[in-house]
């Protein structure tokens, strides 16, 4: 590896813009009360956990294990579940034993396919109880509420739209 501080091409083992942005936003609100808040990036310094997104609802733990163990032994795998049905809702947390394995996973597995879908990986400060549940209104992930495209691997249309469409269909019948 380069002995110099800069690289000639971007690194894939950095936290995503999503993580950085989310924390920037938070810090703006919190600045006044907590002037000495710790740097959110510091929490990722030794992170061994990854958030994995864009999974199909049908992808199993075994499949995830099979792919992700190519980057090192997996310490813990937590499936993301629908808050109400307790069924997989398309994300998970993968925890490795070492920080390096997690970084390698970002570099070598993030953005490749699992179960024929391109998956997304992001460095995560660590799993906490409760985070395995979707935060969307209907129990799944927020992104699946308003999705306009049909995605057979993730329950069809976005749920909010789906509801609306069903309502419209019913009302159409009533109107006649």
């Amino acid at each position: 590896m380069s002995t110099l501080a800069i690289n000639t091409v971007d690194r894939l083992d950095r936290p995503s813009a999503y993580y950085v942005g989310k924390n920037k936003r938070r810090s703006r609100y919190n600045d006044d009360d907590e002037p000495e808040r710790e740097d959110p990036m510091a929490k990722l310094k030794d992170a061994t956990t990854l958030y994995v997104g864009n999974l199909s609802f049908y992808t199993t733990e075994e499949q995830i294990h099979e792919l992700f163990s190519k980057c090192g032994e997996i310490k813990r795998l937590v499936m993301g579940l629908d808050r109400f049905n307790k069924t997989p809702c398309g994300f998970c947390f993968v925890e490795y034993y070492t920080h390096q394995d997690a970084l390698d996973c970002l570099k070598y597995i993030g953005g490749t396919k699992l179960d024929e879908r391109i998956i997304r990986t992001d460095l995560d400060p660590g799993f906490e109880e409760g985070r395995q549940y979707g935060r969307g209104k209907s129990g799944g992930q927020v992104r699946d509420e308003y999705r306009e495209e049909y995605d057979p691997g993730r329950g069809g249309y976005g749920r909010a739209y789906d509801e609306q469409r069903q309502r419209e269909e019913e009302q159409y019948g009533e109107g006649r």
Binding site: A17, H65, L67, M79, D104, G111, K113, L114, R120
Partner: protein
């Protein structure tokens, strides 16, 4: 992929909030802003340098001249100067294919403004010195290559005295030990510098180069005794595909080049067509005032670096084709391309997308006649065979990646990195790369019988993973004939293993849909079942009643006390029937029930194991036979989905419910089946992983033991742990050796009894071959691990060393306990089973 790309490129506001989940994120909501300012000069130069030679649409010579001119003319702009110097060195270290172009910029920078050139050379020398001292020999090689390209700037013999000094150190190392590898590394650096000196504008160094080559010959051409260990093909002597050490190949090629006036026809000479202005006639590159070569100190002896050294062999998956698509091993082009591409590949592991791009762009960085046009079909290559020799860029790129994927004993990065680069190559240029991969796959498939087993296992793993990224499409029809082969034939074993791996990444029904009809019987109905049947559901199974009872209890999360009577009942009944080891049927019922109740998912089975951990631990400790039964029950329950079975075995190892030795006993003595088990890829995977667990732990202990600031009493404690574990590891390897030798030599009892008793059927020969291939892998592993331990302990603090007063001791647990992976944490999130 969209958000992924966005992160890579660092584009901001590109999609304008196209993705809803970013809508509340201010950064992405902003509309793209028009640039309202002049781009600072250093930004311009930075970009121009970083992308040098990348575009076929620009003359690289013009960029070379313009960068050098701009920076020289603005010499007082410190930021600009530093940018140029730092980016140049970054490129040298990270993208070695660009070295001749960066060097050309440096040549003109010196010509225009000697102070600027001198500053760059001095900075290079500083970094080179540091890398020599830390033993980072690849970086040394690249920096020396860069300086070699600048030879015309130096007075006298320039870089040659430094090379001579490297040679002197190599001789010292070689005379001290015949096992030496560091000396060979130094010779490799010398050999890989010479072509770049000779392709620089410097003239009159032919004699020096030749005399240096004469000296290196003896070292380079003596085969190292470890070469056999790392050869791609264990069983055949085939120098054209792999076998010759890289360094001896290189030596021969250079001698050939020396007698050919150093034509070095693939290397770019971007200084040659560079004109400072339109009106200027082309002139040979010359400078008025030369400078002295910077002073570099080479310590004696030279230090070992962080990377373990092994001999390298030259592998090409495109050797022996009817038409050459990659330069033959006799051509210096093969080594120059391979060396620069492999360094690019290994240096840029942090961005596989960029790596894939640079590999595919290989034709930008070498002379125009080196390659045929991209995506030239193989058939077209055949038609052109008579014409000027030029190579297929896709094949050269793919070949370089495979050379690393199949590097023994281990490549620099995790195997999955090389998988991912091949995936990206395919994504960037599917039409060009896919046929090249197809030919590589055919070559490897046809070599399965002779290939080192560790490598055929890597091939299998890559193949299935690669297909999983591309809709599982492969022309299975071309291997249909091989379905008739014996189940222990390496090809049919490969097909079975590959399909199993595909299923693991996907599911049986999906994979079935990708196969031609003749393959369908390979995917049995049982493989399509999510939950394998519970054998105790059938009344015909002995102990059916108790088995069902036990399963219900486990499902209800009953306590150990509640299980006890049922297990006792089984044992009692067994005893009554004269079963020698009554714990076997009771263990079978328990473990099979755990597997069945936990069949829903990995976390289910883990929490089941966790709940019954104490009982399982007690079984394993009490009876060796029962411990083996634990493994048998798991393997039998999941017989049709062996991936899950070996995963559970792996977790049982972490819980220390079973021991590494019990796994080996189970596979290599209890179930060896005259050697037939050795043909099963999941068994190899399980044994390899088990041994890997032991050696990893060993390496962690060695790392702890060789910490610099370690003193008594911890020293003695760690030393003791180390010696104990080392003996255990050696016993493990000895066990493998003792179990496999009879299979390999054909003296295994079961093997003798097979067939007509003569032991001479083709199947016998195959089984013996499996034995030999397994032996080769684990003998190598044993040697590599011992070498690692010996090297690490060479500089470790001797036992008995007391801490100097006032110095803090290393933060190591005094009991020598090292944190190793254990599955305990797996059960943190207890899923409701």
């Amino acid at each position: 992929m969209a958000d992924y790309d966005r992160r890579n490129n660092g584009h901001r506001g590109g999609g304008g909030g196209r993705k809803r989940r970013y809508r509340d994120d201010e950064d992405y909501d902003r509309r793209p802003q028009r640039r309202r300012y002049e781009e600072p000069l250093f930004v311009q130069i930075r970009r121009q340098l970083l992308t040098i030679a990348e575009s076929a649409a620009r003359r690289v010579e013009d960029d070379v001249v313009s960068i050098a001119k701009t920076v020289a003319e603005n010499y007082e702009d410190e930021e600009l100067r530093n940018t140029m110097i730092n980016i140049s060195l970054d490129l040298v270290l990270e993208q070695p294919m660009k070295i001749p172009f960066v060097a050309a910029v440096a040549l003109f920078a010196y010509k225009n403004k000697p102070e600027l050139g001198t500053e760059l050379i001095n900075k290079t020398a500083t970094i080179l010195q540091k890398n020599i001292e830390s033993g980072s020999w690849r970086e040394v090689k690249l920096l020396v290559r860069f300086l070699g390209c600048l030879q015309p700037l130096f007075v006298g013999n320039g870089i040659f005295p430094l090379l001579e000094e490297f040679f002197a150190r190599a001789v010292d190392l070689q005379t001290t030990s015949s096992e030496d590898l560091l000396g060979l590394e130094l010779v490799k650096i010398i050999l890989l510098t010479i072509p770049y000196i000779m392709s620089s504008p410097a003239t009159g160094f032919e004699t020096l180069a030749s005399s240096l080559l004469e000296k290196t010959e003896i070292i380079a051409s003596t085969p190292h005794n470890l070469v056999d260990l790392v050869k791609t093909f264990g069983e055949k002597e085939d120098e054209t595909t792999s076998g010759a050490s890289f360094i001896s190949v290189l030596q021969n090629q250079l001698q050939g080049e020396a007698s050919n006036q150093w034509e070095l026809k693939c290397l770019s000479r971007p200084w040659r067509d560079a004109r400072q202005s339109d009106s200027e006639d082309q002139q040979p590159f010359e400078v008025v005032t030369k400078i002295a070569f910077p002073e570099i100190k080479v310590p004696s002896p030279v230090p070992f670096g962080p990377r373990a050294l092994f001999p390298e062999v030259f592998l090409s998956v495109y050797a022996n084709q009817e038409v050459d698509t990659v330069p033959p091993i006799s051509d210096i082009t093969s080594s120059l391309l391979r060396d620069a591409m492999v360094d690019t590949l290994n240096n840029l592991d942090f961005n596989r997308v960029a790596t894939a791009k640079y590999l595919i762009d290989v034709d930008c960085y070498y002379t125009r006649d080196t390659f045929v046009k991209r995506a030239t079909p193989f058939d077209r290559m055949r038609d052109m065979a008579g014409e000027n020799k030029a190579w297929k860029p896709e094949d050269v790129a793919v070949d370089a990646v495979f050379s690393q994927l199949f590097q023994l004993p281990t490549p620099e990065h995790k195997l999955v990195y090389y998988h991912s680069v091949l995936t990206e190559c395919c994504k960037i240029a599917p039409a060009a790369i896919a046929p090249s991969l197809g030919r590589a796959i055919r070559f490897l498939y046809n070599s399965l019988e002779t290939m080192d087993l560790e490598l055929s296992s890597r091939f299998l793993d890559w193949f299935a993973h690669h297909l999983s990224n591309f809709g599982f499409t492969w022309k299975w029809s071309e291997w249909v004939d091989d379905l008739e082969l014996s189940a222990v034939h390496p090809r049919l074993a490969f097909i079975n293993g590959a399909l199993d791996k595909e299923i693991r990444l996907s599911f049986a029904q999906r994979i079935k849909g990708t196969l031609p009809e003749p393959y369908l019987p390979l995917i049995t109905e049982d493989k399509e079942k999510d939950t394998p049947d519970f054998k105790y559901s059938s009344e015909a199974t002995p102990y059916a009643k108790q088995g069902q009872e036990l399963m219900q209890l486990i499902r209800k999360k009953a306590t150990d006390d509640e299980l006890q009577p049922v297990l006792a009942a089984i044992e009692e009944q067994a005893q009554g029937q004269g079963v020698e080891e009554p714990k076997i049927p009771s263990t079978d019922a328990l473990v099979t029930s755990i597997c069945f109740v936990g069949s829903k998912s990995l976390s289910h089975v883990l929490s089941c194991i966790e709940r019954n951990k104490d009982r399982l631990l007690a079984i394993g400790a009490a009876s060796e036979k029962a411990r083996l039964q634990i493994i048998t029950s798991v393997m039998e329950y999941w017989a049709d989905q062996p991936g899950i079975a070996i995963n559970i075995v792996d977790k049982l190892l972490n819980y220390t419910i079973i021991s590494p030795l019990s796994v080996l006993e189970w596979a290599l003595t209890e179930h060896v089946d005259a050697g037939a088990i050795l043909a099963k890829s999941h068994i190899y995977e399980m044994v390899f992983a088990t041994v890997g667990k032991v050696t990893n732990r060993m390496r962690q202990i060695v790392a702890a033991r060789s910490q610099k600031t370690l003193y008594e009493p911890q020293l003695s404690v760690l030393e003791e742990t180390l010696n104990r574990e080392r003996t255990e590891m050696q016993n493990l390897f000895k066990f493998i050796e003792d179990s496999l030798v009879p299979v390999a030599s054909g003296s295994n009892d079961e093997l003798m009894e097979r067939g007509d008793g003569s032991g001479e059927s083709p199947e016998h020969a195959m089984l013996r071959q499996w034995g030999r291939r397994w032996l080769r892998v684990f003998r190598r592993k044993a040697l590599v691990e011992e070498a690692f331990i010996a090297a690490a302990l060479l500089n470790a603090t001797p036992v008995g060393t007391q801490a100097p007063a006032g110095e803090e001791t290393a933060d190591t647990a005094a009991d020598g306990d090292i944190a190793i992976p254990d599955a305990g944490a797996n059960a943190d999130v207890d899923v409701d089973a």
